[in-house]
Structure formats: structure tokens, C-alpha cells
């Protein structure tokens, strides 16, 4: 333990002092000629680069405020201020820094809540990183990539079975407010607890209380240790909300381009896997719209600037599965979009849907019917994840999507008449049980073995015999049973990753045994 002694402080000061740079260089200097709405118009700075970090000095307090050059006009530069907007006045001086906007990155950030510039806001003391990465980073090209081939387990039965997500994929989570979009992302992050996947959660335009609650949740479930939370709350300036996803991506990219030892990833030094959640991009789009309008860029559809599509596409293109040559790291992106009254045909939703590799569509009606997660299986798809799905889950859930679709159709019809033949009746029963089986509480991620067993039991008809309301209890007790009495079988499934001929009979036996001892609840209503 470090003792606080005069000597230690003295040493530290001396060291800092010896590093002090005393040479004076000439600098490009401009003056602020107009300021407002977090936008500064600067006279001079002819050599400024687009996106360059600018240093404003407040003439009143001497405070340094950073900004980013956005509009490069012939003799003025339009810049956005990134922090204390009120400190800067007209005629204050602005210097170029010669750097593009960068954020501190590194493993030191794990478990921390930082703002967009990488400064800690969780009261856990300063963060001392050794690396920085540019906020805007060109996505890797074809040579550096490989196809998605590893599953990214979310621990959510409905997703892992029917809308599987692969590492390096971009899967949109879309739905109205209060449909459990964030819950899905959080559950997925919690499920990465023990498998070494790094999570980055970017909160854009949310209430600070919401973010605090989320951090508390992650901590309680032991998921914070491998997570970085980048917060640009609703109170943050629009430019910060605009930059937040890129800053988060930069922090995540450190882990995929560097191995565990912090050295660049390569063949012998595998990169890490990252799961990044942008919650949510519709708020970022709004922030960017505000910024662009105050910078007097021409508005387009829904008053969004013309490059809003490019903004999102270049951000999501940074999600990647690197080839083994480059360390094989991956960044899986879960962008979230909030729709208004289920309108997925609005500008931003259609844009992002077309950019991503699939979407998870959440529906208000299902949410209030108690079908949670309220995933609309019909409209939700994953365009590339199937290739990465674990073989065992893939095998048992092969026809689940279609079966459920048929069930929904049948159910709609069967509401009109009561005369149903036995086969139809059977299909309805099965569908109802399967739908019930997909219900899952929050913070209860399942392992892929459990998912396999649950769907296998459903397919084999073990659920048909018990009342629908008992299905969830059956499933949970089955998991306990399997963990207790058939731990070796679960271990084997885990090892094999698929249902081999030796596993299936044992699984049948276990299910037979369990369904005998399961006590359905009495039918007293």
C-alpha cells in the first residue's frame, strides 16, 4: 500500500518537473468572431484540418476548452465546442493542436464510466491511460476481414435460437420506447461475464439517473469489470452526443487491434472480442441534426443533414471480424433505434436497417401481453449470424421460426371456429408451449447448453403434457435438474458443441426422468 508521505509527493513532483517541456513553438492562432449554441466561428486558422482538435483559451478565466473544426470556409472555421460552452467569448484566441480528435484508450478504462473525451465521471479517481486512438477511424478493408464465424451468445433464448448473432456482426435492436431494447443489450452484456468479451456501452442522450441505474445493474451482476460505459447524457452538448458512438468505438477498437499484452494484435497475439452497444443512434442523429443546423449546413429529409446516412454507415462499418492474420479480434455492434409508434419506415430507422446485418424488432403489444422479451419473430432477422450459430442450438431450433410463424397464423384462424382436427389442435398446443418457452426474465441469461436442452424438450413434446402456465417453471426446474443430476451431460454438450449420437439418448433419458418427477400445478384457477 502506498503511504502518503511528503517524500513520495516530492519525488513525483520532481519527476513531472523534469519532463516539463519549456521550448516555445509558434502556433496557428485564430480568434472567435461568433459564438452560440455550442458553435464557434473562428477567424484565421487557415491551416486547420477537418475534424482537428482546437484549443480555445478563455480570456476571462484562462480555462482551456477544446473544440473540433467542422466547417472549413475560405476565411473562417466553424467549430463545435466540446466542453464548457459558456467560458468562451468572442475575441478569445483559438489554437490548432495538429491532432485529430482522440480519446484515451486502454484496459485502464474497463469498469469505468467515462465521458466522451475519456474523462472519468464515476468518482473512482483519475484514469491513467498510455494510449489514445482517433475518434474517426477508417474501417478495415476486405483483406483484413473474415466472415462472421463465431457466435456471440446473448443468453436470450429467443435471439440465440432464431436470430443468432455472430461476432463482428451489426445487429440492430429497434422498437418503440419502453419495449425492452436496452434490456436486451444489457442482458447480452451480462452474459459475457466469463468469456473474455469486452463490452462497451455508449449511452447517448439518456437521463443521468438511467445511466446510473444501468451501471448499478451491471455492477450487481458482475458485468462491470469487463465493461466501459461511455456516457453522453441528455445534458451534454450536442457535439458530444454526436461524438459519443465514435469515441466508444475507438475505445473498443483498442482491444481488437491489440492483444492482451497491449501490443498490436497479429497471428501470434490474438485480438480480443468486443461487444459495443450504441444506445441509441436516433438520439445521436438528432444531436447531429442540431449541430448541423447550427453550423448552417443545408437540411435534407426530416431536416437531417445530407450525410446522416454516411455518419451511421461509417460508424457501423467499424464493426469487424478481423482475419486471423490480424489477430482475429472482433467488434460486434448492437445499435439501438427508437421508433415512434412502430414506424420503421421513418428516415433514420430505414437507414440503419439497411446498413446493419439484421434487426431485432420489439413490439409494444407483445410486451404488454407479457411476452418478454417482446421480440417479433416474424420481422426480426439475422442475415449472417446463422453461419456462426452453435451447432447444437442450430440443430434443435432449425424449424422453430417457421413453426412459430405457422402457429401464429393458425391461432389467428382458430379464433373464428372451434372445430379443429387433432393435428391442428396439436400444432396449436405445441406453438403455445414454444411461445411460452421463449419467455425469459431479465438478468437470467442461459448458456447455449441450456438453450439446447430447453428447445429439445419442447420439440420432443415434453411441454405438451403440462399446462402452458407451467412451461417457464418446467424450464427453470429442468435447468436445475440438469445442473444437479446431469452435470456431466451438460459438460459433454459444452465440449462437443453439438448433439452427437452418444448425447441424444442420455438427453432423452434425462428428460424422461425429469418429466416424471415434475409436478404440474393444480388446475384450480
Amino acid at each position: 500500500m502506498a503511504e502518503i508521505t511528503a517524500k513520495s509527493i516530492d519525488e513525483s513532483l520532481r519527476k513531472q518537473l523534469s519532463d516539463l517541456e519549456t521550448s516555445v513553438k509558434s502556433q496557428d492562432v485564430g480568434t472567435v468572431i461568433q459564438i452560440g449554441d455550442g458553435i464557434a466561428i473562428i477567424d484565421g486558422l487557415q491551416a486547420a484540418m477537418a475534424g482537428e482538435l482546437l484549443e480555445f483559451t478563455s480570456s476571462e478565466t484562462g480555462q482551456k476548452v477544446y473544440g473540433m473544426a467542422q466547417n472549413l470556409d475560405e476565411d473562417t472555421v466553424g467549430a463545435v465546442l466540446l466542453s464548457d460552452v459558456t467560458a468562451i467569448r468572442e475575441n478569445d484566441t483559438v489554437k490548432t493542436t495538429g491532432r485529430l480528435m482522440e480519446v484515451p484508450v486502454g484496459p485502464e478504462l474497463l469498469g469505468r464510466v467515462v465521458d466522451v473525451l475519456g474523462r472519468p465521471i464515476d468518482g473512482k479517481g483519475p484514469i491513467h491511460t498510455t494510449h489514445t486512438r482517433p475518434v474517426e477511424f477508417k474501417a478495415p478493408g476486405i483483406i483484413q476481414r473474415q466472415g462472421v464465424n463465431q457466435p456471440m451468445q446473448t443468453g436470450i433464448l429467443a435471439i440465440d435460437s432464431m436470430i443468432p448473432i455472430g461476432r463482428g456482426q451489426r445487429e440492430l435492436i429497434i422498437g418503440d420506447r419502453q419495449t425492452g431494447k436496452t434490456a436486451i443489450a444489457v442482458d447480452a452484456m451480462i452474459n459475457q461475464r466469463d468469456n473474455g468479451v469486452i463490452c462497451v456501452y455508449v449511452a447517448i442522450g439518456q437521463k443521468v439517473s438511467t445511466i446510473a441505474g444501468l451501471v448499478e445493474t451491471l455492477e450487481r451482476h458482475g458485468a462491470m469489470d469487463h465493461t466501459i460505459v461511455v456516457a453522453a447524457p441528455a445534458s451534454a452538448a450536442a457535439p458530444l452526443q454526436y461524438l459519443a458512438p465514435m469515441a466508444g468505438a475507438a475505445m473498443g477498437e483498442y482491444f481488437i487491434y491489440n492483444g492482451k499484452d497491449g501490443k498490436p494484435a497479429g497471428k501470434d497475439n490474438p485480438g480480443r472480442d468486443v461487444l459495443i452497444t450504441y444506445d441509441d443512434l436516433s438520439k445521436q442523429a438528432v444531436a447531429y441534426r442540431q449541430m448541423s443546423l447550427t453550423l448552417r449546413r443545408p437540411p435534407g429529409r426530416e431536416a437531417y443533414p445530407g450525410d446522416i446516412f454516411y455518419l451511421h454507415s461509417r460508424l457501423l462499418e467499424r464493426a469487424v471480424k478481423l482475419s486471423d492474420e490480424y489477430g482475429g479480434g472482433s467488434m460486434t455492434a448492437l445499435p439501438i433505434i427508437e421508433t415512434q409508434a412502430g414506424d420503421i419506415a421513418a428516415y433514420i430507422p430505414t437507414n440503419v436497417i439497411s446498413i446493419t446485418d439484421g434487426q431485432i424488432f420489439l413490439v409494444t403489444d407483445m410486451f404488454y401481453q407479457g411476452q418478454r422479451p417482446a421480440i417479433d419473430v416474424g420481422t426480426s432477422v439475422s442475415r449472417v449470424g446463422g453461419a456462426a450459430q452453435t451447432n447444437a442450438v442450430h440443430k434443435v431450433s432449425g424449424s422453430l421460426r417457421l413453426d412459430l410463424a405457422a402457429y401464429r397464423e393458425l391461432r389467428a384462424f382458430s379464433q373464428f371456429g372451434s372445430d379443429l382436427d387433432a393435428a391442428t389442435q396439436q400444432q396449436l398446443t405445441r406453438g403455445e408451449r414454444m411461445t411460452e418457452l421463449l419467455k425469459q426474465g431479465r438478468y437470467q441469461p442461459m448458456s447455449f447448453m441450456q438453450e439446447t436442452v430447453a428447445i429439445y424438450a419442447g420439440n420432443k413434446g415434453y411441454l405438451d403434457k403440462i399446462p402452458a402456465k407451467d412451461v417457464v417453471r418446467f424450464r427453470n426446474e429442468l435447468f436445475d435438474f440438469m445442473n444437479g443430476s446431469y452435470a456431466d451431460l451438460m459438460e459433454d454438450i459444452h465440449k462437443e458443441q453439438k448433439l452427437t449420437d452418444s448425447i441424444i439418448p442420455r438427453l432423452d433419458e434425462a428428460l424422461e426422468k425429469f418429466s416424471k418427477q415434475f409436478a404440474p400445478s393444480s388446475d384450480k384457477e
Binding site: M1, A2, I4, S8, I9, S12, L13, S23, V24, K25, S26, D28, A47, G98, K124, G125, P126, G222, D480, F481, N483, G484, S485, A487, K513, K516, Q517
Partner: protein
């Protein structure tokens, strides 16, 4: 065997019964005439006996021809019914014995199954308990780790704060000294030095 004997027994019974029936009228006559003569009462009366015998033989023939078969049929049927009943009784007894054995076996099975389930449940419970214990252990360890980290962090913050104030104070002292104690000439010397050290206007 038993069966046949029974049948024969029934047959002789029938005959003797028929004889006694035929004999009754004779006894009646005999009783009527015994009052007239002494010895004659016990000697057969030929006049009566012959027609009686004829009648008897006639009756015997008629009965043998028509009565006996019908009678025998009834007997036979009855015999069969009784045999069947006995057979059925035997069968049901055997059946009940079998069922009983079965039930006994099932009961035993159920007992062992119940025991098995209990054992299974115990095992599950055990595993769950172990899991929970491990979880609690892990959590408490983590808590301790976190608390330690927090203390460490506090310490670091204190150092940082202290260092910051030292820096502030020294800079303030320096600026005070420069502000008050430097003469104009000394200022000019500083300027001269800085101008000589400064970077070029041309370079970036």
C-alpha cells in the same frame, strides 16, 4: 372324473325318486284293504298287481321315452352351468392373484422410484447449494477486492489532491515573486532569452 361321478349319482337319485312316486297309489290301495283281511294285507293282490304292473311298465316306457331325456337335458344343463361357474371362480381367483402380485411389484417400483427422485432432488439441491455457496464466496471475495481497490483509490486521490495543491501553491508563489521582485531589466533579460529560444515563425 369328479364331474362324471356327480352325473351318475344324479341319475340314480332320479330313478329311485320315480319309483317312489309310482309306488304311492299301491300303498294307498293297500292301506284301504288292510282292514278286511289279516294276512292278505301283506300279500300282493294279483288282480291289482298285474294292471298296476302294466301301468307301471307303460309309464316307465313313456317316461323313459319322453320324460327321461328332457329331464336328463335339464340335469346336463345345470351340470354345465355349475361347472362353468366353478371354472370362472377359479379363473377370477387366479386373475386376482396375478393383479395382486402386479400391484405389489408396482408398489415396490414406486417406492424405489420415489427414493430415486428424492435422491435426485437431493443431488440437485446439493448442487444448487454448492453453487450458491460458491457464488456467495465469490461475491464476498469480490466485495473485499472492491473495497480494497476503493481504499487504494482513495489514497491515490488524496495523493493527487495533495500534489495538486502543492503545484498550485508553488506556482502561485512563483508568480507572486515574479510579479513583485523582478525589475524591468530583469524582465527584459527574460524576454531576450525567450526570444532567442523561441521556435521559428515559419515552421508549424
Amino acid at each position: 372324473m369328479e364331474h362324471k361321478n356327480n352325473k351318475a349319482l344324479f341319475g340314480t337319485g332320479m330313478i329311485s325318486a320315480a319309483i317312489s312316486t309310482l309306488g304311492f297309489p299301491a300303498f294307498a290301495f293297500a292301506a284301504g284293504e288292510s282292514s278286511s283281511t289279516g294276512i292278505a294285507t301283506i300279500l300282493p293282490n294279483v288282480e291289482e298287481t298285474v294292471p298296476m304292473l302294466i301301468a307301471f311298465i307303460l309309464l316307465w316306457i313313456i317316461l323313459a321315452k319322453y320324460g327321461w331325456p328332457a329331464f336328463s337335458n335339464v340335469i346336463k344343463k345345470r351340470n354345465e352351468t355349475i361347472t362353468n361357474s366353478l371354472k370362472q371362480a377359479e379363473e377370477s381367483r387366479q386373475e386376482s392373484e396375478r393383479v395382486l402380485a402386479e400391484y405389489k411389484k408396482e408398489l415396490a417400483d414406486a417406492r424405489s422410484e420415489a427414493a430415486e427422485i428424492v435422491a435426485e432432488a437431493k443431488k440437485t439441491g446439493e448442487a444448487t447449494r454448492a453453487q450458491i455457496t460458491a457464488q456467495a464466496q465469490k461475491e464476498s471475495e469480490e466485495m473485499i477486492k472492491k473495497a480494497k481497490a476503493a481504499i487504494e483509490q482513495e489514497k491515490r486521490n488524496a495523493i493527487e489532491e495533495l500534489q495538486g495543491s502543492v503545484a498550485d501553491i508553488s506556482c502561485d508563489v512563483a508568480s507572486k515573486l515574479i510579479d513583485q521582485d523582478l525589475s524591468d531589466d530583469e524582465h527584459r533579460k527574460i524576454i531576450e532569452r525567450y526570444v532567442k529560444e523561441a521556435g521559428s515563425f515559419h515552421a508549424n
